[in-house]
């Protein structure tokens, strides 16, 4: 009845070894030190050439935009990217490819890339992926989430039940296995311990204890799976607030290496209960990409022409624009 066990033929980009991960986590600092720093410093200190990068949130929702912009400005080379729900984040980072600055993205574990959901495909991200200069393997959103979960559990793999029978499986490095108890065929997905994770949260204290509101997507596991973790937050809060209600902590300080306060840090994405996405700006970005010369002008203005994220916010309409997006988040302008 059942076919022989198969292996996918895609390459594996991240070391799944639980023992080697333990060796790393053995050395990770555990003291409650002040980790407040600028986004510029966090990226310079924690992201190196050739590393594996994973970005939290869900595409343009609770997106650590400021770090994505800063990565493009500092331009580390040959990164491997976890393409998990990667919409605007992939679009920002793709500015480091085919723009005369070398190759920022060299490899991608692709579950969702190139597209911005219903807004359409990103022409520049397409150019990058269709040029053949970025290697890729295929995944699904949940299988990448399970890879982070395996790593968060300190395991080398986990079994799951999708991707079986498809080309998505064939272009992945996954293997089929048989359950030793039930005899059921399963997919074994390798753990993914990213070198660097980047997550935007609502509130954090200076040690890195974090709270979010709304859906957590894969960030509970991503925070624990990442060897190094950069957190940006809408608001810094006192440690007393964390201790006053520890049930609300999603990420504990000992997972975190840098805390950066970036108000409106998910712009132009949505931040639940704070501000809605700036659809106009996202559409401008997509439109500019259609023409390569226009696109160069666009990123020169919005990414390379500013020194930090607050300048980008200013350039994109500043506080009045952000106040409008807050009203939209609270549905105050319905029917207008």
């Amino acid at each position: 009845m059942s076919t022989p066990l198969r292996n996918g033929d895609g390459p594996l980009y991240a070391d799944p070894s639980a023992n080697r991960a333990r060796e790393f986590f053995h050395t990770k600092p555990r003291s409650m030190t002040d980790k407040l720093m600028s986004v510029k410093d966090a990226v310079a200190r924690l992201i190196k050439d050739g590393e594996y990068l994973a970005v939290g949130g869900f595409g343009a929702d609770r997106l650590p935009s400021a770090v994505c912009h800063e990565i493009v400005r500092q331009n580390p080379q040959n990164l491997t990217l976890a393409g998990h729900t990667a919409t605007h984040d992939f679009q920002i980072l793709a500015a480091g490819n085919l723009t005369g600055r070398g190759k920022l993205i060299a490899r991608v574990d692709a579950a969702y890339i190139v597209g911005l959901e219903a807004r359409g495909l990103s022409p520049h991200a397409r150019r990058v992926m269709e040029s053949g200069e970025v290697e890729s393997t295929e995944w699904s959103n949940y299988s990448l989430a399970v890879r982070f979960k395996a790593a968060a559990m300190g395991l080398p793999f986990l079994p799951m039940r999708s991707m079986l029978g498809t080309d998505t499986f064939k272009k992945s490095p996954c293997k089929e296995i048989v359950c030793p108890y039930s005899g059921e065929k399963l997919l074994a997905v390798p753990a993914c311990y990213p070198d660097v994770g980047v997550i935007h949260v609502h509130e954090a204290d200076r040690y890195g204890n974090c709270r979010i509101r709304g859906t957590s997507v894969a960030d509970f596991d991503l925070a624990r799976a990442s060897k190094k973790l950069i957190v940006t937050c809408e608001r810094l809060i006192p440690n007393d607030d964390i201790r006053g209600d520890p049930t609300r902590t999603l990420i504990p300080f000992f997972c975190v290496d840098a805390v950066c306060e970036v108000p409106f840090g998910s712009y132009p994405g949505n931040m639940p209960y704070e501000y809605f996405s700036d659809e106009e700006h996202l559409h401008q970005w997509l439109e500019a990409e259609a023409d390569e010369a226009e696109y160069k002008k666009f990123i020169d203005k919005y990414i390379f022409g500013v020194s930090d994220f607050s300048e980008y916010l200013q350039l994109s309409g500043g506080l009045p624009r952000l106040q409008k997006l807050r009203q939209e988040e609270f549905l105050l302008n319905r029917g207008k």
Binding site: S2, T3, A111, V114, E117, N141, V146, R161, S162, L331
Partner: protein, 258 residues
């Protein structure tokens, strides 16, 4: 009596009618979300809507733009993780899901990864599976809402991103996918299709008013037959159209696309 409506409005009404009350459905944005909202406002007030990003049971105030935006858990019963939603599906608690793609074949296999022959240098790179492969593997009934044309309904998909019935009867089970799951309905601007019990190939169940079988065949890239006596799809009722236009999609984001 017959109200005027456009093809998108008809498709959304057909999809909504398939969603039974007291069931669970995993949706994305766009037409599927509109179908779920319409079902909730007509025959299925207790339909529980899930989004793969973690939103559960929202009282959707407007159409979400992103599968992860804050509308997807607005006044919901839970804002959780992607793993929690997908594991609810993997446990066997998700009755329906809606999927789409650039290509679909006779067995309901979907391509949303690439157009072309060379994976390393695709002619068009598309987003990939997203959550589609997971939802199609786990949910009991897969529904597809799409326009009907030959570029989309193909003999062979360029890349099999998301499993339908794979190569035919028994193939899902042999691959290790959960028994009893699989493609259920395809709703297009021409017809409603299901899958033959034995062959697992797509077949026409009902033609939309004014559409002929020849029209369906000439817009389909594989041989397609009718299931027994062909029915005519019921047109949207006045009340379905009113709710769809006034409550579900007042800005005509979706129904204005037809």
């Amino acid at each position: 009596m017959s109200a005027t409506y456009n093809p998108m409005e008809l498709m959304i009404c057909c999809a909504a009618r398939l969603l039974e009350n007291g069931r669970t459905v995993a949706v994305g944005t766009g037409a599927p979300c509109a179908a779920a909202m319409l079902a909730q406002r007509t025959h299925a007030p207790d339909l529980v809507v899930f989004f793969e990003s973690g939103g559960v049971g929202p009282q959707l105030p407007t159409m979400p733009i992103s599968v992860g935006d804050s509308r997807t858990f607005y006044r919901g019963i839970m804002a959780t993780s992607m793993a929690d939603v997908m594991e609810t599906c993997q446990r066997g608690m998700m009755d329906y899901t809606f999927l789409g793609g650039a290509q679909i074949d006779a067995f309901g296999n979907l391509n949303s990864t690439m157009i072309g022959k060379d994976y390393k240098k695709p002619k068009i790179r598309l987003p990939g599976s997203g959550g589609a492969n997971d939802l199609a593997s786990f949910c009991w009934r897969i529904l597809v809402l799409t326009n009907h044309d030959k570029r989309r309904f193909v003999e062979k998909v360029d890349f099999l991103t998301t499993p339908g019935y794979l190569t035919g009867p028994g193939a899902r089970e042999a691959a290790g996918l959960a028994p009893g799951t699989g493609p259920y309905r395809v709703i297009t601007d021409l017809a409603i299709m299901g899958y033959h019990d034995q062959t697992k190939r797509m077949e026409v169940l009902s033609l939309h008013p004014g559409v002929t079988m020849e029209q369906v065949q000439s817009n389909t890239g594989f041989a397609i037959t009718a299931h027994g006596q062909l029915a005519t799809t019921l047109a949207p009722t006045e009340s379905e159209l009113r709710i769809l236009r006034e409550e579900v999609d007042p800005h005509r984001y979706i129904i204005g696309r037809a």
